[in-house]
């Protein structure tokens, strides 16, 4: 299969479009690596090969019967950044923002050691801590038990401030895979409920997938969101059968997906056709497992609402796993609502009469051990952190770590996170100039990067930043506010009728790009950069280091280029930004601040920034 250069594909040529590249294409050995394991370079090497061979590189299809690469990944070829740009680039893949001190640290320690030290930093505050400390767990005339905005405040405070930013970064990615949305959890203390969910994602972010999926299953917010809470066993007399919502989505979205996959994330085919992983019978069967659960009200006190008689439970109920022991419910029962039928799904049969806890263990073990989980999960995490179109080999290396972290453990999320970031495909600087590598930064990450780069702080301590999901006037996306269980964008989305689709690439984040949202983003950032309007009245940014060099427009552009884009601004864009900065004469510090605002906004409006390479 021939590879083609992308340079002819810019700005909408269609006739004369080169043959699209296929993700499955392989290079028999990239030109610049040494004795490393054979690398299926996908897009990357193809572009390089073309550059070397002048339009028509050679690619060899994989040899039939070649053994798959399994087991421990190769040692990373690059141990430490070779320059500040590489360091900054790594920081922006691993976390939310770059900074001069962090660049120095990672340059000094090397990638892996720096990751290890950052990943082990203890948390300086959970969602629960936030609600407690701000008084949002109180039953008073504010009726915090019935509002959502304090959850927005909480998650912005988590993303914008505090330590543990790598863990939070990965937790945000997990929240877009194991989706629960504040928009869909109509229960008392719903803000606290989503806070509890956020806390559990953080708790397990560098732990184990098996523990995570169990806690997710029993989490009250998830119980409300996908109807496990209150789901009852079948009643033949009325024809009622268990709700299938969680049973379906735990398979379709949270573990195995719709089609059988190879370890490298590509589909298995049977007679040329993809193979469905489950049928509707499997959904009906597994749905029986998730029956008989409700909120655990043990040790939960009640407070009478202000101005009424309703009894409001303590917010802590939302932080306790649901229970199938009906004696512990708010209105205790001495019945069992768990299905005692035989439960058959995915080739497993749980015998009739198996209790809730054992059924859950057997079901989750079975799902966890399905061959699809490693590639299905790993590929999407790569998409959230590094690139929308990882090569199959990259997926396979990471999926292999999911299957075995090197010490015999399956599902080690911390190991998966490291494998994604330390992989050569992520670190190799050639990715910066590869026209098909990288991803469109999602709006949440752009806004959080602004906050963390410039030391955002809350004036009141409440972090009163609201839901910013409105498309026309805001970001078009807000954390924990997905419009459905399918997140703001699908992992396999691509814009139709585009250069992306012409090249057979995926671009999930483009699902929320349209003529309205691109304008809404600029308008939002205009106000965010200088924290004007009511959306940002409780926060301020610290540009003191930038103001200090603002007289020197080149130095200012250099700094913003390094911190915001890892030096990915093109020369033309740099010049445009520098001229715009220079157009503001310097009379005083207000002018210097305006020069900084202009530099920041123009940088973050550029596709050189928006596309993270």
């Amino acid at each position: 299969m021939q590879s083609k250069t992308f340079s002819e594909t810019l700005v909408g040529s269609d006739s004369g479009l080169p043959e699209p590249l296929n993700n499955e294409a392989v290079d028999a050995g990239s030109p610049d690596t040494g004795p490393a394991l054979p690398r299926m370079a996908g897009i990357g090497a193809a572009a390089l090969a073309t550059a070397a061979c002048g339009g028509g590189g050679e690619q060899t299809p994989p040899t039939a019967g070649a053994p798959p690469v399994v087991g421990a990944p190769p040692a990373p070829e690059v141990l430490a950044p070779q320059n500040d740009a590489e360091a900054s680039r790594f920081l922006l893949q691993a976390g939310f923002a770059s900074s001069a001190p962090a660049i120095a640290q990672v340059s000094d320690q090397g990638y892996e050691a720096w990751l290890d030290s950052q990943m082990s930093v203890p948390s300086d505050g959970t969602a629960y801590d936030f609600f407690e400390s701000r008084g949002y767990n109180e039953v008073d005339s504010n009726r915090y038990y019935n509002i959502t905005r304090v959850a927005d405040y909480m998650v912005w405070s988590q993303l914008m401030s505090g330590n543990n930013s790598l863990r939070k970064r990965f937790a945000l990615a997990l929240s877009e895979f194991f989706v629960v949305s504040l928009n869909g959890i109509n229960q008392v203390w719903r803000s606290q409920a989503i806070g509890a969910y956020w806390d559990l994602l953080n708790q397990h972010a560098f732990g184990n997938f098996r523990d995570l999926i169990e806690d997710i299953t029993l989490n009250p917010a998830m119980g409300t969101f996908l109807n496990t809470r209150g789901n009852q066993k079948a009643d033949p007399s009325t024809g009622r059968v268990p709700d299938e919502n969680y049973g379906r989505e735990i398979m379709q979205l949270y573990s195995i997906g719709l089609f059988e996959l190879q370890l490298d994330g590509t589909q298995r085919l049977s007679g040329g056709e993809p193979i469905e992983t489950y049928t509707n019978e499997d959904v009906t069967g597994i749905a029986k497992v998730f029956t008989g659960y409700d909120f655990d009200y043990t040790d939960i006190g009640f407070t009478t609402e202000v101005g009424g008689t309703r009894q409001i439970p303590d917010a802590e109920y939302a932080f306790k796993p649901m229970t199938a022991d009906a004696s512990r419910w708010r209105f205790p029962r001495n019945q069992d609502f768990h299905s005692s039928e035989e439960k058959s799904f995915l080739g497993l049969t749980i015998p009739a009469g198996t209790n809730a806890s054992d059924s859950l263990t057997l079901a989750l073990d079975h799902v966890f051990n399905h061959a699809n989980v490693a590639p299905f999960f790993s590929k999407q995490m790569i998409q959230r952190l590094v690139t929308s179109n990882p090569s199959p080999a990259y997926v396979q290396r990471v999926a292999s770590v999911f299957e075995n972290n090197g010490s015999g453990t399956r599902g080690d999320l911390g190991a998966v996170y490291k494998a994604i970031l330390l992989d050569d495909e992520a670190l190799d600087p050639s990715g910066v100039t590869n026209p098909g590598f990288g991803k469109l930064r999602e709006p949440i990450l752009r806004f959080v990067q602004l906050g963390r780069t410039f030391g955002m702080r809350s004036i009141s301590g409440n972090w009163a930043i609201p839901d910013l999901a409105d498309t026309a006037s805001e970001l078009g996306q807000s954390p924990l506010r997905s419009p459905s269980v399918f997140n703001f964008f699908r992992p396999t989305y691509f814009p139709t009728n585009s250069v992306t689709s012409d090249n057979n690439l995926l671009a999930p984040e483009f699902q929320i790009v349209d003529e309205t949202s691109v304008a809404g983003y600029i308008n939002l950032m205009e106000r965010a950069v200088n924290t004007t309007t009511f959306n940002f009245s409780d926060v301020e940014l610290d540009y003191s280091e930038e103001v200090a060099i603002a007289d020197d427009s080149l130095a200012l552009v250099d700094r913003l280029d390094l911190l915001l884009t890892a030096d990915q601004l093109s020369a033309d864009v740099r010049n445009t930004i520098q001229s715009a900065i220079d157009s503001v004469a310097i009379g005083n510090d207000d002018d210097r601040l305006r020069r900084v605002h202009i530099g920041v906004l123009l940088t973050m409006a550029s596709t050189d920034y928006l596309i993270q390479k």
Binding site: L226, T238, G239, V513, D514, T516, L602, T607
Partner: protein, 474 residues
């Protein structure tokens, strides 16, 4: 300039037209001289302006509580299956019979529905009952995606292929909109737009999305243009020509928004920026000169989208279009729980919004020229899961407009049952009418010629007729 062949409506031509648009200034309404000499064989724009408006109900609308059997026997079956024990008071997820008394739809004399069913609309859809009585609303019964006509036996033994990934939200949304699961490259609304573009002076406004990115309006060539409920969103600093009090900075922003590096994604992102910048002021100017007095209420997101659609239709002369396809949507229909209560609220909003929109088309004098229709991921189970229903397949939908042959039923009413041959388990309907027949009927009214129908509705060749008859002959 001849814009006959679809292939010439490439992105390059698109951008070329847009730069011409900009060069002539965007401050006032005018027409661009792109006389379209269309392929007369493929599409007819006779009959003046026409618009199709798709209302997509995201989540899978519970058809069982949208059109409810009201006659005694069938109501009893409904009540029994839905957990009401067969009683008239309902219960479980069955609505009470008394609540349906005001929305009963009289079956026309010349029609006899399955098992003598008489339907009532949901209690909160009284306005649509009025439209049915007036002949403007047509229910289409048990419609869903099919690759080919299929019996229960064929479904069970796999001898006829079923659409892939049934019961999966995202895939069925895509299948409804395009006849393909997630990953489809075009939708049938967009494919109609492909054929209609050449009839439009300003073809970039053929497909208008007031909802969110969905494949429905993507064509082989046509690109949907996105508006918000308040119209086009302008980039404020460019509109004011001042960014942080600097017009030089505003110019720089304009330059930067239009420049792409060598990256594939950058090229596509800049395309969207360009369209946003080129067309925003033009569209808002057209909307400013378009008055729609009909009250669309407040706190109704669907109504807000439809108001913008109505204003755009009112501005069609300025916008420069003769044929348009619109997409609006509302979510929340995945009623696995809380069906009673929540669902009626959603249908109430739908009822209000559809009626307001119809009134607006009357106000604008285009009631016969605008056809609105509903669609959804799927119907749902008839059987209950306790307090809701689960994912289904076939469902009931509605077509509304002055050109609709309303006041009568289309499609075949399903038995009120969980085990007849038109069910695939728990009362999930095996569709009797296909989405392709639905879309081809709309397409023909819209102007798509018989020979071009398969390009819009790819499976239509396997069905008996491409015309279900719910549109009046033009």
């Amino acid at each position: 300039m001849f814009i006959g062949k679809n292939s010439e409506l490439s992105r390059r031509a698109f951008l070329r037209r847009s730069s011409q648009l900009a060069a002539m200034g965007a401050a006032s309404s005018y027409a661009m001289g792109l006389a379209g000499i269309g392929e007369a064989a493929a599409f007819s724009s006779a009959g003046g302006y026409k618009a199709l408006v798709c209302i997509f109900l995201y989540g899978g609308n519970d058809h069982g509580n949208t059109l409810i059997p009201f006659d005694a026997d069938n109501y009893a079956s409904y009540s029994s299956i839905r957990g009401g024990g067969g009683a008239q008071e309902g219960g479980g997820i069955a609505l009470s019979r008394a609540s349906l008394a005001n929305t009963v739809l009289t079956t026309p004399q010349d029609q006899a529905l399955t098992d003598g069913i008489t339907y009532a609309l949901a209690p909160t859809m009284a306005r649509m009952k009025s439209r049915f009585d007036q002949g403007s609303l047509a229910p289409l019964l048990n419609v869903g995606p099919l690759v080919a006509p299929m019996t229960r036996a064929q479904f069970d033994n796999g001898s006829v292929p079923a659409p892939p990934k049934l019961f999966s939200h995202n895939d069925q949304q895509s299948t409804w909109q395009s006849s393909q699961p997630e990953g489809a490259l075009s939708g049938w609304g967009g494919r109609m737009a492909d054929l209609a573009q050449s009839s439009n002076t300003n073809s970039m406004f053929t497909a208008i999305n007031a909802s969110g990115n969905a494949v429905f309006l993507s064509g082989e060539e046509a690109l949907p243009y996105r508006v918000s409920p308040s119209g086009a969103t302008l980039v404020r600093p460019l509109d004011r020509n001042r960014l942080y009090n600097s017009s030089d900075a505003a110019s720089a922003l304009d330059t930067i928004m239009r420049s792409a590096s060598g990256h594939v994604f950058a090229a596509d992102f800049v395309d969207v920026n360009n369209r946003s910048l080129e067309f925003g002021a033009f569209i808002n100017d057209a909307l400013d000169n378009s008055t729609v007095n009909t009250d669309f209420g407040s706190e109704n997101a669907l109504a807000a989208q439809l108001r913008t659609v109505a204003q755009l239709i009112g501005a069609r002369g300025s916008v420069g279009v003769t044929r348009q396809v619109f997409l609006v949507g509302m979510g929340g229909f995945d009623n696995h729980d809380g069906l009673i209560g929540q669902h009626e609220g959603l249908l109430s909003q739908l009822d209000f919004a559809m009626d307001a929109f119809y009134q607006a088309t009357q106000e604008l004098g285009v009631a016969d020229q605008v056809t609105t229709f509903t669609a959804s991921d799927f119907g749902r189970t008839l059987a209950s899961n306790g307090d809701g229903s689960d994912h289904g397949w076939g469902g009931h939908h509605f077509i509304l407009g002055g050109a609709v042959n309303g006041g009568r039923f289309y499609g075949r009413a399903p038995h009120v049952s969980v085990d007849t041959a038109d069910q695939v388990g728990r009362g999930r309907l095996l569709p009797d009418t296909s989405v392709d027949e639905y879309s081809s009927t709309l397409a023909q009214w819209f102007g798509v010629s018989q020979s071009e129908l398969p390009s819009v509705s790819p499976n239509i060749g396997r069905f008996a007729s491409p015309d279900l008859g719910f549109m009046q002959p033009s």
